[in-house]
């Protein structure tokens, strides 16, 4: 960590700023057929500050580090057997305009994918990615980041933090990496950013505070792991799960859900002999699906929705915290926003709290 440096950037110079980030692939929120999504910016004209700031992208940015489908290696079984990993073509990247909740999700991914042992596919992209966030001035209707240890302007997981002051941004470096990046921009564009005035710093802090106060959903999760431990056989779970249609959207849109499947895709070269070419792919999976745990014997340790929903809640608010000292949830609210039958995780947790035991 390093002493922060703070600048201001006029909003109408944003394209100049992004243009100065040469040598990086740039990913940012853009409207794709009316839906806000993280996308590769090949033409800066496609990027609009106002669109990027209009809310949190529908899909979290996890696919940028952990693609929904990726080839792990290719194989060739003919007379010899050959396994080959693709060349690493991934260049340095920047994710721009990410909210603090999504940035924190990468720290949760790190806990799983970047240790004991490191997952090389994830770790490689992670090391090559600089993360520039934008403080969230107006939380969404189902946001609850402050309840899970985050905040609308949390710097955790960020290299640089932008705060929108209307006609200009306050640009604050968080890590050495962020500092180096901003230095690089200023070197090629000396007039782009000015030292931030104390009054602007103050304004940014007030915006951060006011966003926190505007947080629409709040729940005190202190003691939640212990409370859940006492309720594992409670009737309550049956009531909760009867509503769920097990579509899995909560897991696909969750920035912290990382479960995956591994599958072989192969084309036989001969009908009779074991000769083929193919690849081993990794794809997102979901704990909401019965096949996720179905064993070859036919036995399934989590055959019913009640088991699977409970597993999801327990994983996020009990087991992951036991293993890594943080909730596997960043409070982005997507699972609530997009659940087709209004399963509401904050409501579930509130009910858990309210159960007298």
């Amino acid at each position: 960590m390093t002493a922060t440096e703070i600048f201001t950037l006029p909003k109408n110079r944003m394209h100049a700023f992004l243009g100065a980030l040469s040598g990086y692939k740039l990913y940012a929120p853009v409207l794709v057929e009316g839906v806000l999504l993280f996308d590769l910016i090949t033409d800066l004209k496609k990027f609009s500050c106002d669109a990027a700031l209009s809310g949190n992208p529908v899909k979290p940015p996890k696919a940028l580090l952990f693609p929904q489908t990726e080839t792990m290696f290719r194989f060739n079984v003919t007379r010899d057997v050959d396994i080959s990993v693709g060349k690493d073509n991934e260049g340095e990247r920047i994710i721009f305009g990410i909210h603090s909740c999504d940035a924190r999700s990468f720290l949760i991914f790190d806990q799983v994918f970047d240790r004991d042992p490191s997952d090389p596919y994830y770790a490689n992209r992670r090391r090559k990615t600089v993360i520039i966030g934008i403080a969230c001035n107006i939380p969404g209707a189902n946001c609850f980041c402050t309840s899970v240890g985050g905040g609308p302007a949390s710097k955790e997981g960020l290299d640089v933090l932008f705060t929108d002051l209307g006609d200009r941004y306050v640009v604050e470096t968080v890590t050495t990496r962020g500092k180096v990046l901003i230095k690089q921009v200023r070197k090629t564009n000396p007039d782009l950013m000015a030292e931030c005035q104390a009054v602007d710093i103050q304004k940014a802090l007030e915006l951060h505070k006011s966003a926190e106060e505007k947080m629409p959903r709040n729940i005190d999760l202190d003691g939640m792991p212990k409370k859940l431990a006492r309720l594992s056989e409670h009737q309550f779970w049956s009531d909760i799960s009867s509503k769920c249609i097990a579509c899995g959207i909560c897991t696909y849109l969750c920035p912290t859900c990382y479960c995956f499947d591994i599958q072989d895709e192969a084309a036989p070269l001969s009908a009779n002999v074991y000769k083929l070419v193919g690849k081993r792919v990794r794809v997102w999976d979901s704990c909401m699906f019965p096949e996720y745990t179905l064993q070859a014997s036919g036995y399934n340790p989590r055959p019913l929705r009640i088991h699977r929903i409970k597993n999801r809640i327990y994983h996020k608010y009990k087991w992951h915290p036991e293993n890594f000292k943080s909730f596997a949830c960043v409070g982005c609210g997507r699972c609530i926003d997009f659940c087709p039958v209004n399963v509401d995780i904050v409501e579930i947790l509130s009910k858990v709290k309210a159960i007298r035991d």
């Binding site: 290696f73 479960c259 072989d264």
Partner: protein, 280 residues
């Protein structure tokens, strides 16, 4: 950076048919193609590997050989799903994939002074075979009693039959072989494994009990060990779950906050007794 998902190629040296029929069981003896990998591949009894066939996928399986077996590894598989069925179609000389070893294995290094009681059923004997072979190969260090209980439904369902008959001849091992139902061709014990255990009444003094087998058997064996006044932390078992990665990342094999592939598959009973999904 090391890629833990990249498997090593291995060649099948020998296939032993343990049990025939619909749910047949075979023991595969394999050698890594790369001699350096074969040389450096070390493991503990109770540890597992991901075996696979390119184009079909991978399967998590306990090693049934002992670390003291040099120059090869063995695993024993029932023909059940996609990958195990493909492996059962293989012949000696075929190339398969192996990565690992994975999991914790038995804490056998702490058991040198203990009386060790192994209770196996069906294919569950595979990891116990590794442990038993390991103890016998290190019999000077492992000076305590060694009791081996093993049972199956019928004579035709006994895994590692000849080896167990050989084991019976040893003076330093007490072997209790049983089948569930009386058979005229069988002159040994008859009855369910948990009952055979109860009748034999092994003492809990300075003992370690390990049971691997069908979940229903595990449940009753554990119950009976408790009846024989074994403490929960003296009783060990191995768990089985669907797995894909083998390294605690893909998510599916969890029981509570533990991952069977990484934190298991060996657990003492006190650690898992309150986890509903642990034992079927």
């Amino acid at each position: 950076m090391i890629n833990p998902y990249l498997p090593n190629l291995a060649v099948i040296q020998n296939i032993k048919e343990e049990i025939l029929g619909q749910r047949s069981i075979k023991t595969f003896r394999v050698t890594f193609l790369d001699a350096a990998i074969q040389e450096s591949f070390t493991y503990k009894p109770g540890q597992c590997v991901m075996v696979g066939i390119l184009g079909e996928g991978e399967s998590f399986v306990a090693l049934s050989s002992s670390p003291t077996d040099n120059g090869y590894i063995e695993f024993t598989l029932m023909k059940l799903g996609k990958v195990t069925t493909a492996l059962h179609r293989c012949n000696p000389g075929d190339i398969i994939t192996v990565r690992g070893p994975y999991g914790n294995g038995f804490p056998a290094e702490n058991w040198t002074e203990k009386n060790i009681i192994c209770v196996g059923g069906g294919i569950g004997q595979a990891p116990l075979r590794s442990l038993i072979k390991y103890i016998i190969a290190n019999r000077k260090r492992y000076a305590g009693r060694l009791d081996v209980f093993y049972g199956a439904r019928s004579v035709a369902d006994l895994c590692f039959k000849e080896e167990l008959f050989e084991l019976e001849k040893r003076k330093d091992v007490n072997v209790y072989l049983s089948i569930d139902v009386k058979d005229n061709a069988w002159d040994r014990l008859v009855g369910f494994v948990p009952d055979v255990l109860l009748r034999a009444k092994p003492s809990p003094d300075s003992a370690i009990a390990i049971t691997c087998g069908p979940p229903i058997m595990i449940r009753f064996v554990v119950q009976n060990f408790l009846k024989l006044e074994f403490k929960e932390e003296q009783i060990y078992t191995t768990l089985e779950k669907k797995m894909k990665c083998g390294i605690g990342k893909c998510g599916r094999c969890n029981i509570g906050n533990l991952y069977v592939c990484k934190d298991g598959p060996v657990f003492s009973y006190d650690k898992i007794k309150n986890i509903p999904e642990a034992i079927e």
